[in-house]
């Protein structure tokens, strides 16, 4: 019987490979870990949106822990997320900086914010995805936690909700504020 084991090896190897491939099938390819985590915020300089005086650049992100949120008036999930961002603003939980991504025209973003409220400290207009590409964004909304030294500490894909805020954001923010 002992001499038979070589005949089973291909089967065993196949089994192991099948196991890993099957596990891989269940993974979401959209959730690629960002290479920007623990790196300095990349350089970018975005003009203000219409009706606003100040744009948003990487030099605005220092000396405080903040959120950077990529949104657009065309983005349905951003609309879902929006009331929670407004709550954060009302509670003065954390400054939120916005990148207004790929608006169909220059008035769409300001109109949207006027209608639903503006939770952002500063907003940069990003019609050509320069800001989005700087942050390695693949879709909206996406939110980054940037620490006091301007280092990106966390990236969240999709809308922020009360649940994922309490579960993921809060502990990270508390930890960063202690430092």
């Amino acid at each position: 019987m002992n001499s038979r084991w070589p005949y089973y090896t291909p089967l065993i190897i196949l089994g192991i490979l099948a196991f890993y491939f099957a596990a891989g099938l269940g993974q979401n390819p959209a959730k690629v870990k960002s290479v920007l985590i623990n790196k300095k915020v990349p350089e970018f300089l975005l003009p203000p949106i219409e009706g606003s005086l100040k744009g948003f650049s990487n030099s605005d992100l220092k000396n405080q822990v903040v959120l950077v949120n990529i949104f657009g008036s065309w983005c349905v999930s951003c609309r879902i997320e929006h009331p929670f961002l407004m709550q954060l603003k009302e509670k003065k939980s954390i400054p939120i900086y916005g990148i207004d991504w790929r608006e169909p025209d220059s008035t769409a973003g300001p109109k949207w914010l006027e209608k639903f409220g503006n939770p952002y400290t500063l907003i940069g207009d990003d019609p050509n995805s320069l800001g989005a590409i700087a942050f390695g964004v693949t879709g909206a909304p996406e939110t980054f936690i940037v620490d006091k030294n301007g280092i990106i500490r966390f990236k969240h894909l999709g809308p922020i909700t009360k649940d994922n805020w309490d579960e993921t954001f809060k502990p990270i923010l508390e930890d960063l504020r202690k430092k």
């Binding site: 090896t9 959209a30 960002s34 290479v35 990349p42 050509n128 995805s129 989005a132 590409i133 693949t138």
Partner: protein, 144 residues
């Protein structure tokens, strides 16, 4: 007959849908050629199995323009690719680089093919030896 042939030939003609807008194309054909070859190697992060050169996604378009702007600004091909990789990671390269974590990916198939071939050779060799031995045993039995 000739007409049918022509029609069939036209049907097989690859009408490649070009995602690159005429407006995006650089005036200098050499720079444009470089931009095209870089774009062909960069994954569209929205529609992940297409390159940004093939994709109609708006983010792909903006990335194509970014690639061209950087080429015009005087960046080398590797500098342009490094810029995009530093934001999106190796994942954005359609052809993953050969390094520690990708060794299995690159050389796994060659390894398994060789291992399989060696296994097969050993298997048939042993079978031949076994059958020879069997024939010998049979002969010996007959002789006895």
């Amino acid at each position: 007959m000739k007409a049918i042939f022509t029609i069939v030939a036209i049907l097989f003609f690859p009408f490649a849908a070009l995602a690159v807008d005429p407006g995006e194309i650089l005036k200098d054909p050499n720079l444009e050629k470089r931009a095209r070859s870089i774009s062909k190697g960069l994954r569209c992060v929205v529609c992940q199995n297409q390159s940004i050169d093939d994709s109609d996604a708006q983010l792909a378009r903006d990335l194509r323009i970014l690639v061209r702007n950087r080429i015009v600004a005087g960046d080398s091909d590797t500098a342009v690719i490094d810029y995009v990789v530093s934001r999106y990671g190796d994942f954005v390269l359609l052809k993953p680089p050969i390094k520690g974590v990708t060794l299995v990916l690159w050389f796994g198939p060659i390894f398994f093919t060789l291992a399989g071939l060696i296994g097969l050779i050993l298997f048939f060799r042993r079978q031949r030896i076994d059958s020879k031995a069997l024939v010998q045993m049979d002969n010996e039995e007959i002789n006895n």
